[in-house]
Structures are given as structure tokens and as C-alpha cells.
């Protein structure tokens, strides 16, 4: 795996407000970090490039937070679809048992609602996967999530106490991993699901290294 040629953080923190010139300079540093992560993506067996460079057609971010969003793997859609189908079936089975087994006449509405919700979730599953993105900025990690209720969280590197990698059953088959970040504030709640295994491991290693260089007190 290639390593980033330089770590961001060499620029001073003098200016409080990021003006346009400063921001592009800092994004140049961050871009070197991201460039390394993309080259790691290509090392994956199979050779197929995992992600397009996120440009205007990247993450459907409604707010203007910069355009350099990294997306999660395409195959995360499969995880979402399988999860929706499983829960939809479970709900439908419960409803059917109530309707036919116990004879509650109104339970067919539960079944219908469950099926409708499952179909709706299946339809928007690609958009849901598309809406997750992250940016490695100079001092923090910016994370975006959601279609209707969008949520952006900026977590400075030095504030990360813990980085978890979790793999669900479907994720293990598809070689996908979920990254979860823990800070001292329980309300932060940031996670990047659906990353490819190598990307997740590389991102975690780099974030741990960055967190160590920025480590401050609580």
C-alpha cells in the first residue's frame, strides 16, 4: 500500500477564518491525503476502480460544504436491500400470523403497511447509499448522511478517542466494513458504513496517525 507523501497539519493555524485562497491551499494538502487513499483503492484485487472522483454528481449534499466528497462503495446498496428485505419479511410474517393465525381482521393493514414501507425503502436504497459521504479536511473529518434529514458532522482529528471497524454478516460476504468514530461526546455518533475492507483499514490507520499528532487533552 502506498503511504501519503505528507501529512496535513504543516500549515499554521494563524488565520481564523478560512478565506478562499487559504481553503484551496489547505485542500491541496488534504487532497494529497485523499489521493493516497484512492490509490489504495485501486490496489484492491479485481482491478476495477472502486470510486469515481466525487465531483458535481457526487454525494447529494444540499448544503455547500465543498465538492470533494468521497462516497462509500456501490455494494453498500446490496447491504441496505438485504436488510430491508429481511426486516420487511419479518414484519409481514408477524402481521400474517396475527391476521390468519389469530383472526384479527385489522392485521391485514399491518401487512400492507409493512410491504409498502419495505418497497419504498427498496426504491430509495440506492439514493440512501449515495447520500453517505465524507471528506478528509485539513483539521477534521467532515461526514454527511441522509436524504430528507441531512446531517453534517465535523470531527477534529485530535478529538477522536476511538475508531471501530465493524463487519456485519452481509458486509463480510461483500468485503465491506463499517467505520465508527467515538469522541468524548456521546452525541457525536459518526459512522461511515459500506467502505471496502482495504479502504476502511487504510482510513483507520491514517486517522489514528493524524489523531496522535493532534492529540490534546480532553
Amino acid at each position: 500500500m502506498s503511504r501519503p507523501s505528507e501529512l496535513p497539519g504543516a500549515t499554521p493555524f494563524g488565520d481564523a477564518l478560512p478565506d478562499a485562497a487559504g481553503q484551496s491551499a489547505r485542500q491541496g494538502d488534504a487532497a494529497s491525503v485523499r489521493g493516497a487513499s484512492r490509490s489504495m483503492e485501486r490496489v484492491r484485487p479485481g482491478g476495477r476502480p472502486g470510486r469515481r472522483r466525487a465531483g458535481g454528481s457526487g454525494v447529494a449534499a444540499h448544503l455547500d460544504m465543498g465538492a470533494d466528497w468521497q462516497r462509500v462503495s456501490h455494494r453498500y446498496v446490496v447491504v441496505l436491500i438485504v436488510g430491508t428485505i429481511v426486516w420487511g419479511l419479518a414484519g409481514a410474517v408477524v402481521g400474517l400470523v396475527l391476521w390468519l393465525g389469530f383472526g384479527l381482521w385489522w392485521a391485514w393493514m399491518l401487512v400492507a403497511a409493512d410491504v409498502a414501507a419495505a418497497i419504498a425503502m427498496l426504491v430509495i436504497a440506492p439514493r440512501r447509499a449515495h447520500s453517505i459521504g465524507y471528506q478528509l479536511r485539513e483539521d477534521d473529518l467532515l461526514f454527511c448522511h441522509g436524504i430528507l434529514f441531512q446531517r453534517y458532522v465535523a470531527v477534529p482529528y485530535g478529538r477522536m478517542q476511538l475508531i471501530d471497524i465493524n463487519r456485519g454478516p452481509i458486509g463480510r460476504i461483500l468485503h465491506l466494513a463499517d467505520l465508527r468514530f467515538v469522541t468524548a461526546a456521546a452525541s457525536t455518533g459518526v459512522g461511515i458504513p459500506g467502505l471496502h475492507d482495504d479502504t476502511a483499514a487504510g482510513l483507520r490507520d491514517r486517522l489514528v496517525a493524524l489523531a496522535e499528532t493532534r492529540r490534546a487533552g480532553l
Binding site: L63, D140, P156, G158
Partner: protein, 550 residues
């Protein structure tokens, strides 16, 4: 004790060797249990004793043995001697266990950490690093004060992670607190030798002094600043509170029902009323002797008359502050301060509130003083007006000033300059600070916050973010930039339609929730970006984990 060459008790206890607690500890910790057992025995014997007394006085004849309680069963079978023997054996066993647990309970204060070992069957060993402590609490429950002991609790970040040294002698505990804070501060000063106690003071005089002035620490340097709360205001604030309103309503309901002859409600609600009366008494008792002082080792909060408590919070351990005014206090202009801190004590704090309430009631001068102790950069003459504006400026005034800023006179400052002043992290405004320092949301925010939209606002000043919300319950939240964890921007479909966002500042868990519920999209994104940069600078410049290391 009067020997000038003697090593002070606290320094001796902190010499890195294992020490035991005060010998009276088993009685103080287990004493309540013994009293409970005695109470049960007395309850069982009550009938017997009253019958015996009546017989001796001659009121009644010999009672019959049909009462059926265990004591009469024992008497019937002639087992009284064995019962007494068993009682004594249990007593000795209990004393033996207490003695053993006292011997096994030791502590050690080294240069880096406080360690405690305890337990007879299952051993516990707790280790707390001194440079990670969040606060030190010296409390003296009533029962312990009779023996001249105190409890020292070192709070550490985390759930149920505190190191508790209960009970130590008062001199040892005070000296140990000083030593722990000195080592946690990273100073290179040697431990100052304390002045010895005046020669010839006997036990009774020392106890009396301790009772009358429990927070007096003769070795502490003079405090840098103190906030005095008049007792009348403290008691007034306990009376004028939400609990009183509920009590008045309940009493009114009960009286109306009783007037109509419905007495069952009185029976149901009487225990509740009595319990609330107990809450008042507890709050009064805990609010006496309240003091809040800024020392070199941080904020020191003390309260209590019978059972006292004295908590020290070192600098940099307060993660967020909230200055709040309930509607019922608005005529008196009283405010309350609550904080977020990583270490949490188990007991309730001042005036029976949670121990995250550091100032139960204060007038604006007291609030500014406390903010000045916690965040000295906020007490600057440039920034002191911001706190006042944060507390008292009404929505209409804020909105009028914002309009003045955005619709300037000809050829003068424009809107960029005004908002530059608002978001400048150094607190040096580019323009005259008389326009409201708080950046308020646009008019369309009234759809979501019809009453308070003009008061919602933020400003970055003095190394902290101040967020103002609320029209009925006025709140001002202060988050030091060096303690901010992460920032969040949320936008749901309603806010997207109104071109607003919700910005939230994450800090460690606590009662303070620093959130801007509504702000314009451009303003919100500018805030989001500005915070990211200013936070990095503040964290790099922050050295408060070792506050006295030069």
C-alpha cells in the same frame, strides 16, 4: 501537633507509601447497618419491654405467652441464653469483618497517580492518573464530623470511576487535597510547608473550629475572587421555584376538594406534600454557607451546614456552561449556572440540585464574576458587554440592531464588516461593537420559533462560542473552543424549505446542550467553517491539563 518541625499530615500521606484510612472508618461506613439491626431487634422486643415495664410498675399482671412473636417463642423453649450468646457472636463477627476490611483498605498517592486497594474476599485496585483528574471533592457528613474525619473524592472522567477515600482525618484530607492538586497542576514548586496548628489547642477546640468554619483552609493562598450569595437570595430562590408552584397547585386542589367534602384526595396527596416539604428542608440545609471562589487550582464550590462539601474543579475541566433564567425569576433578575464536566459526583450538590449546578442563584454581577473565573478571557472589557447582551438583550432590541448593521448609512460599514465582527475569534471587532454582537437568524425563522427567533444567536468571543436561545426561558450557553468536541449541522425538509439549518456543538455529556435551533443557511455554514478553524487554534494554544506548568 504544635511542633513546628513536624511534617504536615497531608504531605506525609502523599509520600508514595501505602497508608490506611482513619481508624473510625468501619464504624462510619457500617455504623448505619448496626443501627438498622438494633432497630429491628428493638421493634421485636417492643411488646416485651412495654409489658415488662407495665408489670414492674404494677399496672398489669404477668402477661401470657401467647403473643406468637419470636421472643416469646424463645422464652417458652428456654433458649434465651443461647439467643444472647448468638447475638454476641454475631456482634463479634461483624466487628471482626469491619476491622479486617479496614486493614485491607489502603491508598497510595504517588507522583503520577492515586491508587486505592480494598476488599477482603475479592480485591479491588483502582488507579487514577493525577493529570487526568476532573475535580476533587472534600465532604464532611455530619456523622463523620463528630469524629473529626472527612471524605475525599477524586473525580475522574467516566462512569462510576471516582476514587473515594472515606474516611480520613480532617488535617490529612485537607493536606492530601492540596497535594493532589499541586501534583496534577504540573507545577515544579515544592510542597509548601504548612503552618502548624496553634500550640495548646485541644480536641474540643479543634472540633469546634471545624464546625464553625468547615471550609476554612489556613494554608490556602488568598483566593483570587469570590462570589458572595446573600442568604436571603438563596432562600428566596428555593421558595420561588417550580416546586413551589406545583405545591401551591396541589394544596389548592386538595383544599377545594376538602371544601366540597371529598377527603380521599387529601389522603392520597398528603404523603406527596410531606415529601415535598422534606425536599425544601433538604434544599435549605444544603444551601447554607454557600461559597464559590476562584483559587490558583481552579474553581472551589463549598456549601452545607451539618454535612459540608467542598469541590474543586481545576482549570480546563469545565466543558460547557449554561446561564439560565426561568420565567418565574425574571422579576428578580436571578440566573443560574450549570456546567458540563467529564467527572461526575454521585451525591446531589448545592441546594439539593444536581452537582452540575455550580451557582444556584445569582444576580448578573455574580454571573459575570463566575464566568470571569471560569473563562478569564471572557472578562475582558471588550467582551464583557457580550455576556450582558447575551443575558438581557430582548429580541426586539437584537433585531433592531441587526437591521442597523445590515442597512448601513451611506459609505459606511457594510454587512460583511458587521458579520466579520461577529465571527472574529480574537474578539477585536473591526467596527464599533455597539451593533448587537449576536448574529440572529432571518425573519423566516419565525415559522419554527415564533417567540424566540429574534433572541436566537451566536457570537465567537474570548476563545469561546456563546449561543443565546429562548424568550420565556432565557438561556446563554458558553462553550470554550478548546473543549469543543465536534460540530453538527442538520437540515430537515422543513428547514430546507425555509433555507435554515440547525447547528449543534457537541461537548461531553451533561445538562448543557449548546444548539442553535435556527440560523440562516449562509450564516450557518460560515459559522461551521469558522468554528473548525478557530477550534484548531484554540486547542493548540490550550495548556490547561497542566495548568501550573510554566
Amino acid at each position: 501537633m504544635g511542633d513546628p518541625g513536624a511534617v504536615p499530615a497531608g504531605v506525609e500521606a502523599a509520600d508514595g507509601r501505602w497508608h490506611r484510612l482513619h481508624p473510625a472508618t468501619p464504624l462510619l461506613r457500617g455504623g448505619v447497618g448496626i443501627l438498622a439491626v438494633l432497630g429491628v431487634i428493638a421493634a421485636n422486643l417492643r411488646e416485651r419491654i412495654t409489658d415488662l415495664a407495665m408489670t414492674m410498675v404494677g399496672v398489669r399482671g404477668v402477661p401470657d405467652d401467647d403473643s406468637g412473636d419470636p421472643v416469646s417463642a424463645l422464652v417458652r423453649h428456654g433458649l434465651v441464653g443461647w439467643a444472647i450468646l448468638a447475638a454476641f457472636a454475631l456482634l463479634f463477627l461483624a466487628l471482626g469483618i469491619f476491622y479486617l476490611s479496614w486493614r485491607m483498605h489502603t491508598f497510595r498517592v504517588g507522583d503520577d497517580a492515586v491508587e486505592v486497594r480494598r476488599g477482603i474476599l475479592s480485591r479491588h485496585h483502582r488507579n487514577a492518573r493525577l493529570d487526568r483528574i476532573q475535580g476533587v471533592n472534600l465532604s464532611k457528613p455530619l456523622f463523620a464530623r463528630l469524629f473529626g474525619t472527612a471524605k475525599l473524592e477524586v473525580s475522574v472522567a467516566g462512569q462510576d470511576a471516582n476514587v473515594e477515600l472515606a474516611y480520613l482525618g480532617v488535617a490529612v484530607a485537607t493536606g492530601l487535597r492540596r497535594e493532589i492538586l499541586r501534583r496534577a497542576s504540573g507545577t515544579r514548586r515544592l510542597a509548601a510547608a504548612s503552618r502548624p496548628a496553634a500550640a495548646g489547642t485541644d480536641l474540643f477546640t479543634r472540633r469546634l473550629d471545624d464546625f464553625l468554619a468547615p471550609h476554612y483552609d489556613p494554608d490556602a493562598p488568598p483566593p483570587t475572587s469570590a462570589v458572595v450569595i446573600p442568604p436571603l437570595r438563596l432562600f428566596g430562590s428555593i421558595i420561588v421555584s417550580g416546586l413551589s408552584i406545583a405545591l401551591v397547585i396541589v394544596i389548592a386542589v386538595v383544599s377545594v376538594a376538602a371544601a366540597h367534602g371529598v377527603y380521599v384526595i387529601l389522603v392520597i396527596l398528603l404523603p406527596t406534600i410531606l415529601a415535598w416539604g422534606g425536599v425544601y428542608v433538604r434544599r435549605f440545609v444544603r444551601a447554607i454557607n454557600y461559597s464559590i471562589v476562584g483559587t490558583a487550582d481552579g474553581l472551589r464550590i463549598g456549601y452545607g451546614l451539618f454535612s459540608t462539601s467542598n469541590e474543586t474543579i481545576p482549570p480546563g475541566r469545565i466543558h460547557a456552561l449554561e446561564v439560565v433564567q426561568p420565567l418565574i425569576w425574571r422579576p428578580f433578575d436571578w440566573w443560574q449556572i450549570r456546567i458540563d464536566t467529564a467527572g461526575r459526583l454521585k451525591d446531589k450538590g448545592v441546594a439539593g440540585q444536581h452537582n452540575t449546578t455550580i451557582l444556584p442563584v445569582g444576580d448578573p454581577a455574580a454571573i459575570e464574576k463566575v464566568l470571569g473565573i471560569v473563562l478569564p478571557t471572557l472578562a475582558d472589557e471588550r467582551t464583557v458587554g457580550i455576556v450582558t447582551a447575551g443575558m438581557h438583550e430582548t429580541g426586539a432590541a437584537a433585531f433592531a440592531r441587526q437591521r442597523e448593521t445590515t442597512m448601513p448609512a451611506r459609505g459606511e460599514k457594510g454587512p460583511e464588516a458587521g458579520s466579520e465582527a461577529a465571527t472574529s475569534a480574537e474578539g477585536t471587532p473591526a467596527v464599533d461593537p455597539s451593533p448587537t454582537p449576536f448574529t440572529v437568524p432571518p425573519r423566516r425563522a419565525a415559522w419554527l420559533r415564533p417567540l424566540s427567533w429574534r433572541r436566537v444567536g451566536y457570537v465567537v468571543a474570548g476563545g469561546a462560542v456563546l449561543v443565546r436561545t429562548g424568550a420565556i426561558w432565557r438561556r446563554l450557553r458558553v462553550v470554550p473552543l478548546a473543549r469543543l468536541q465536534s460540530t453538527e449541522v442538520r437540515q430537515g425538509p422543513v428547514r430546507r424549505g425555509l433555507r435554515l439549518v440547525r447547528v449543534r456543538l457537541h461537548t461531553v455529556d451533561g445538562p448543557v446542550r449548546a444548539e442553535l435551533p435556527v440560523i440562516g443557511v449562509e450564516e450557518g455554514i460560515r459559522f461551521f467553517r469558522g468554528i473548525a478553524a478557530a477550534q484548531a487554534a484554540a486547542v493548540a494554544a490550550d495548556h490547561s491539563d497542566r495548568w501550573a506548568a510554566s
